[in-house]
Subunit: 195 residues, 2 copies
DNA sequence: CGAGCGCTTGATTGAGTTCAAAAATCGTGG
DNA sequence: CCACGATTTTTGAACTCAATCAAGCGCTCG
């Protein structure tokens, strides 16, 4: 499993096997079952998570008790709570949609590892920038797109998740009801759309 | 004007006047008039901007030609395009809602200055994390909140912008029509709400 | 095998949009 | 400083997309 993370890093930055060992020798791999909770809103996160196999989701509850899925994290995604960095409770929860194998990334693991491999800092900034651009796109979409546009956008971003995520969760990610999503899909099917 | 930026930095990190001079001696201050454009979507951004006085907005256009305001940047806010970091064209435009005095922050100015003051890197990461949390909150809101909830949220985030930003722009930020915002305000006023 | 969950479908409702036009505010030149 | 034209905001009426409520179907897993 750690191999997968090494591969991921190698795509982002040049890193030798020796360097990897040196900086990430003691990574902890964790295997969790479906629906297992990794982080509960209000708690202080101890780790971020790199997904080797499986599927996680990050979601928040609004005052009305409604779930809003902020992000899915399939293979090769990192998900975690940014508030941990400034010692604040998490605003969202994280749990597993499938049985998942993941690597625990302690809150400041990148900063720590960077004492050995300074260019990890650059990578960290790149990752953060990516996250920001991703969210800016999402905001633009939520501001303007109709239900079916949102669904098409979801398909683009997470091409192979359609069958792995239950529809009511996709609906929650899109900010529409499961009923609406069902109708959107029906409409698209009628117009010969192939997912 | 540079004084304001120095003050801003001092609140974020311990920095002496000497250090500031050393790292930021050659900052460029720019004064722009109302409606002047600083960055056009599709261009490659050269700078981010720190607002000393005035008010900027970042907005994108969707395929239907509709404007979506991603962010306002009043005094002491930094706004810029993250795509510049990875040499990609900007997805949004930035212009001035008021006559504005700002400081140009060249794309890698923080990394450059960090050669002199390493703890600037930490600050950079903190800023990025803040941006992410801000956007996560915004996404949660857009997924679930009604028009009037959105407006109340806007008032909380930008308390003193109500009179400085035309209503049609606030509406664009909230993802509703100006007409709807007008009705929301009417309704709130009826219920003795004081802005 | 049946209880429960997820998905679909239908009918109804409602929040917000659209279109139109009046009222208020702003800004600019005389 | 005022007046006029343009822009912004408000108001009204009709409409639309998606939400809600409700019921039925099909699957799975206990």
């Amino acid at each position: 499993m750690v191999e997968i993370f090494k591969q991921y890093l190698k795509e982002k930055i040049e890193i030798t096997d020796e360097e990897f060992e040196q900086a990430f020798g003691n990574l902890v791999v964790k295997k969790i079952i479906k629906w297992q909770v990794l982080l509960r809103a209000g708690e202080h996160a101890q780790h971020g998570f790199f997904v080797c196999r499986g599927l996680l989701r990050a979601y928040s509850l609004d005052e009305k008790g409604k779930e809003h899925i902020v992000q899915f994290a399939p293979e090769n995604w990192i998900v975690g709570d940014r508030n941990a960095m400034i010692n604040q409770p998490s605003i969202f929860s994280i749990d597993a949609i499938e049985e998942t194998e993941l690597i625990l990334l302690p809150n400041n693991f990148l900063e720590a590892a960077a004492t050995q491999i300074p260019r990890l800092l650059t990578m960290n900034v790149t990752l953060l920038n990516n996250a920001i651009r991703f969210m800016q796109k999402r905001i633009s979409m939520l501001l303007g797109a109709t239900a079916s546009e949102r669904y098409l956008d979801f398909l683009k971003i997470y091409p192979n998740l359609t069958l792995r995520v239950p529809q009511w969760m996709i609906a929650s990610y899109l900010g529409i009801t499961p009923e609406s999503l069902s109708r959107v899909r029906k409409e698209l099917a009628k117009n010969h759309f192939r997912p």
